[in-house]
């Protein structure tokens, strides 16, 4: 086999790697923020009393969880413009990631909310707190603490799945890899390095979130 590895050829692209990683991380942060926000709202509705709203949320969750992320993204980016909604690639990617994460977050948080004993919110109401206050101060913090590890796992999965946003020409880490290997024809080295960057990002992100979580939910088992 006459192939000689040359990882040195990648050194000049350090700046590009960093830019790509920043886009990947940025998309992950934005979609996590809005996705979990939507997830909290959706889970609250799913635990609520209105039957039609619960069914609607359940249908949304099933629809997203049973179709591939790449198809959801293509739908947003290619299909919605034909109805007059036009997104930039970056917007479509962020929206697709947010909507995808939201569905999983609803499912995770719903389980977390149901695990909070009913006595907790009854006691809150018994003290004369408004329902919204009971939810925000009593139920939600406990639900979040219950399912925090699962949420961290889902955020990591969203980050790793975001590699496909390169297919609608978002200049993320994967897109950077495609560009570099088309320049230097060292596809093996390039993809290997980028895979390792994803690995480091995933491990670091998980560590930091778990660490942050143990500070946030002090006094509970991490």
């Amino acid at each position: 086999m006459g192939y000689e590895f040359d990882f040195g050829a990648l050194a000049q692209y350090l700046g590009l790697f960093l830019e790509g990683a920043a886009v990947t991380l940025g998309l992950t942060v934005v979609s996590s923020f809005f996705g979990i926000g939507l997830g909290i709202w959706g889970a609250a509705v799913a635990c609520g009393k209105r039957d039609w709203a619960r069914k609607l949320i359940a249908a949304y969750v099933e629809l997203i969880r049973n179709t591939p992320f790449i198809v959801q993204m293509f739908f947003l980016f290619f299909a919605l413009p034909s109805l007059g909604y036009r997104f930039s690639a970056l917007q479509a990617a962020a929206l697709a990631m947010t909507l995808n994460l939201a569905a999983y977050a609803i499912e995770i948080l719903r389980a977390g909310m149901q695990a909070v004993p009913a006595g907790q919110s009854e006691a809150g109401r018994g003290m004369g707190m408004r329902p919204l206050l009971v939810f925000g101060l009593i139920v939600l913090p406990q639900a979040l603490a219950n399912v925090y590890p699962a949420l961290v796992g889902q955020i990591t999965i969203t980050m790793l799945e975001s590699a496909v946003v390169s297919q609608i020409a978002v200049v993320d880490l994967t897109h950077v890899a495609d560009f570099i290997q088309s320049r230097n024809f060292r596809s093996f080295e390039t993809y290997l390095v980028v895979t390792l960057i994803y690995l480091v990002l995933a491990v670091l992100m998980r560590r930091m979130l778990v660490l942050g979580g143990s500070k946030l939910f002090l006094g509970r088992d991490p």
Binding site: L63, P81, A163, A177
Partner: protein, 217 residues
């Protein structure tokens, strides 16, 4: 190019479904076999083997499947190994599913009470006999619902094979879109088809889980 009726679109998409199903089946069968071997190695007494299996699972679960695909499809030819899209997709998804299945099954084996190991050892069973007769049958009961659940993830993951040019459902949708300029109906139908493939599995996984929980009571 407007001579494609909606029926033509649906017909062409449905023709691609067997390829998605076939790729899923190969990845599941292959991943199941490799996963079982890794499971047996990983729960053995040798510490280094256990670590190696953990690392394997961790590597696949912490890197994007797309990168794994690219490494095999674009990277290996550089090293002189020629791979077709079909081979790259099968190999990658097999490795990917073996890692996830090992992880899932490992958790189930760990959940079998320690006394079962001690009890079967005291009966004089060899390691493999312990596994075959005592541990795995109990672990398998617990493993079925999450395994079916993973199958859903696997079917969805096969959509990524379209990116390296494997002609399954998603790739066919892209080709049809380029020919007909009707992305809305095409990707809507594609999502629907994936849903029809995956939803029964999701449902089945949930039913099995409830059944298992009930039988444990």
């Amino acid at each position: 190019m407007n001579d494609f009726t909606n029926w033509d679109i649906l017909r062409n998409l449905l023709l691609a479904v067997p390829w998605t199903v076939l790729l899923s089946a190969i990845a599941f069968a292959g991943g199941g076999i490799v996963g079982l071997i890794l499971l047996v190695i990983g729960i053995g007494r040798r510490k280094w083997a256990r670590r190696a299996v953990d690392l394997y699972v961790e590597l696949f679960q912490s890197t994007p499947l797309l990168m794994q695909l690219f490494l095999v499809y674009f990277g290996l030819p550089m090293l002189g190994v020629d791979v077709s899209a079909w081979l790259a997709a099968s190999v990658c998804l097999t490795a990917y599913s073996s890692a996830f299945l090992t992880g899932i099954w490992r958790g189930c084996v760990d959940a079998v009470p320690k006394g079962q190991w001690d009890g079967s050892a005291s009966l004089g069973l060899s390691y493999l006999a312990q596994l075959r007769l005592v541990i795995l049958p109990q672990a398998a009961r617990m493993a079925i619902p999450p395994t079916v659940g993973f199958l859903v993830q696997l079917v969805k993951s096969t959509a990524l094979a379209s990116i390296v040019g494997y002609h399954e459902l998603t790739k066919t949708a892209q080709i049809l879109t380029n020919a007909t300029f009707q992305p809305f109906i095409i990707f809507g139908l594609v999502a629907l088809i994936y849903f029809v493939l995956c939803y029964p599995l999701t449902k089945l996984s949930r039913v099995l889980e409830v059944k298992l929980a009930r039988s444990d009571r």
